[in-house]
Amino acid sequence: MTAYILQRLIQSVLVLLAVSIVVFLAVYGIGDPIELLVPPQVSAAERAAMIRRLGLDLPVWQQYLSFLGNALKGDLGRSFVHGVPAAGLILARLPATFELVLLAMSGAALIGVPLGLLAGLNPESRPSRAIMAGTILGFSLPSFWKGMMLVLLFSVALGWLPTAGRGETVSLFGIQTSLLTLDGIRHLILPALNLAIPNMALMVRLVAAGTTEAMTQDYVKYARAKGVRRKRIVGRHVLRNILIPVVTVAGMEFGSLVAFSTITETVFAWPGMGKLLIDSIYHLDRPVVVAYVMLATLLFVAVNFLVDVLYAALDPRVKLTGEMA
């Protein structure tokens, strides 16, 4: 087990290293950030001074090594555009994204799990089939189109909810949150709904599939034969058994939403991390993009690692060896 964890750790570090190199080169390959930052009328001397200050005059491998050296000391560099540390810039956006994803995922679970149970218990009934067809629709709507339609319906046509932006925030333990003000929550609803719909569909499908399968298992059959009430079977046995995969998937989705809710944040002008990523890419703000993707990869690697270890702990059939069977 320890050997396995060590091995995975080394592999993860290698992945991080590879990600940093590829992203570094990728942004380098798109274009020269100086062309976007410095207006063309600036004198050659001033431009050269700026290039030197940002270290862009060095060969790319030297730039990368100095980045790596600083990163090991915990310094991911300064944003070209904002002039402040990249990590701080990203982390300052974390609360906004986090509360959005939190609301979206809990909403998805609160609605998705009961619907999934309903559909899974009577898979051939009319409502169940409607629910399952609905999940297909939920998967099929492209995020940007759905977001705009939500705005058109709830903000423009009905005038119930604000169109974009974060609204009023209050400070809680030094972190800005909009979950505690009415205005903030009103601003949260539409983007959270936009994120929640496909996840709701995912939850319904997971729970429905799990329930249908569980109902055919021997333990359920025995319980039924013993005359245990249906409610109790579902509540005590079925639900408990299907929750493990649901929680796992929800956890992984949570991670990927925190890292890449880019489209929703763009459509709703939500000042979160995804919006920052896309703005930074468009401005060739390399320190921010590199720091961002590295942090995101760290998140994924950690989540995958935890999932594998958890599975091993929960399911004795999974062996954790170097071969990862």
Binding site: V15, S125, R129, F139, W145, L277, F300, N304
Partner: protein, 303 residues
């Protein structure tokens, strides 16, 4: 009642019926699925025949006139042509643009899924067969790809090799192969532990033979059935990239790009520019997903 019926597909899928019959039976069994298959067929037909049936060639700038732009559905243009679904900001006939856009979207979806499938299957197969360092290396690359923002891939490709439908296809392949690889590896690992493979190994059959003749055909099914859904995913991804301004060329709009262009006109009341391609896109993706879902459930594969 519900119980017996829900078990049925599992049993049926494992029985010795020929694959084709099984699939056809599954599809015929549900009206929604049947409808989706018919719709999908119509879409493919329209896409193939687009140059023959479209009133205008929307890719040819000479046949467009900006003076005819943003006309309502049913308007008559200066050249006498009737725009049944209206025109966009460049004076493109929306009907023609949608037919051609369908073609682009489907082409991108099919080719990129085929490419991703090929790479993903190969990678997954190798990972499962050789295990150890090979497996670890491939799977870490998969981790890497799944954490990589697709817009960055698209932008880098645009900047380095220029724009074009083919470049978008490459970008989508780079994004999607990892999902297939992960799936293929899981399926092949299960298969590899079965007795007949062990027997083949003990019998001394060459590894390439085992991989191609036994492992591949017996584990590829679960990957193939999700292909339909991934085609839908590829089309959505293309639409999203076009929405972000890093997709197909502006002069050859896909459905996604048509919608993206139309967004600017939603508030000013020119709904048809985004609405009609939007409906076409959602129907296309829905029908792909419905068929794909049916296939997947028929074979009881979970992703």
């Amino acid at each position: 009642m519900s119980l017996s019926k829900s078990v049925a597909p599992v049993v049926a899928a494992n029985a010795d019926t020929p694959l084709r019959t099984k699939v056809l039976r599954r599809i015929r069994s549900r009206p929604t699925t049947r409808g989706a298959v018919i719709l999908l067929g119509v879409f493919v037909l329209l896409a193939v025949l687009a140059p023959l049936i479209a009133p205008q060639n929307p890719h040819d700038l000479a046949s467009l006139s900006v003076m005819d732009n943003r006309l309502e559905p049913g308007s008559r243009g200066m050249t006498g042509i009737t725009y049944w679904l209206g025109t966009d900001a460049q004076g493109r006939d929306m009907l023609s643009a949608i037919l051609y856009g369908l073609r682009t979207s489907l082409l991108v979806g099919l080719l990129s899924s085929a490419g991703a499938l090929a790479i993903g299957i190969a990678a997954g197969l190798f990972a499962a067969q050789f295990g150890g360092a090979v497996d670890a290396a491939i799977m870490r690359v998969v981790d890497f790809m799944l954490g990589f923002p697709s817009i960055l891939i698209a932008l880098v490709l645009l900047a380095s090799i220029g724009r074009g439908v083919d470049k978008v296809i490459i970008a989508i392949i780079l994004v999607q192969w990892a999902q297939y690889a992960r799936l293929m590896r899981a399926a092949a690992l299960v298969e590899r532990r079965k007795e007949y493979i062990e027997a083949a190994v003990n019998f001394g059959l060459p590894t390439p033979h085992i991989m191609l003749a036994h492992l591949l055909p017996n584990s590829v099914g679960s990957v193939l059935v999700v292909t339909t859904i991934n085609i839908a995913g590829a089309i959505t991804l293309e639409a999203t990239l076009s929405f972000l301004g890093v997709g197909v060329p502006v002069t050859q709009p896909s459905l996604g790009l048509l919608i993206a262009n139309g967004f600017e006109f939603l508030l000013s009341g020119e709904y048809w520019i985004a609405a009609f391609p939007g409906i076409a896109l959602v129907l296309l993706i829905m029908s792909l997903n419905l068929v794909g879902d049916r296939l997947r459930r028929s074979f009881n594969v979970r992703t």
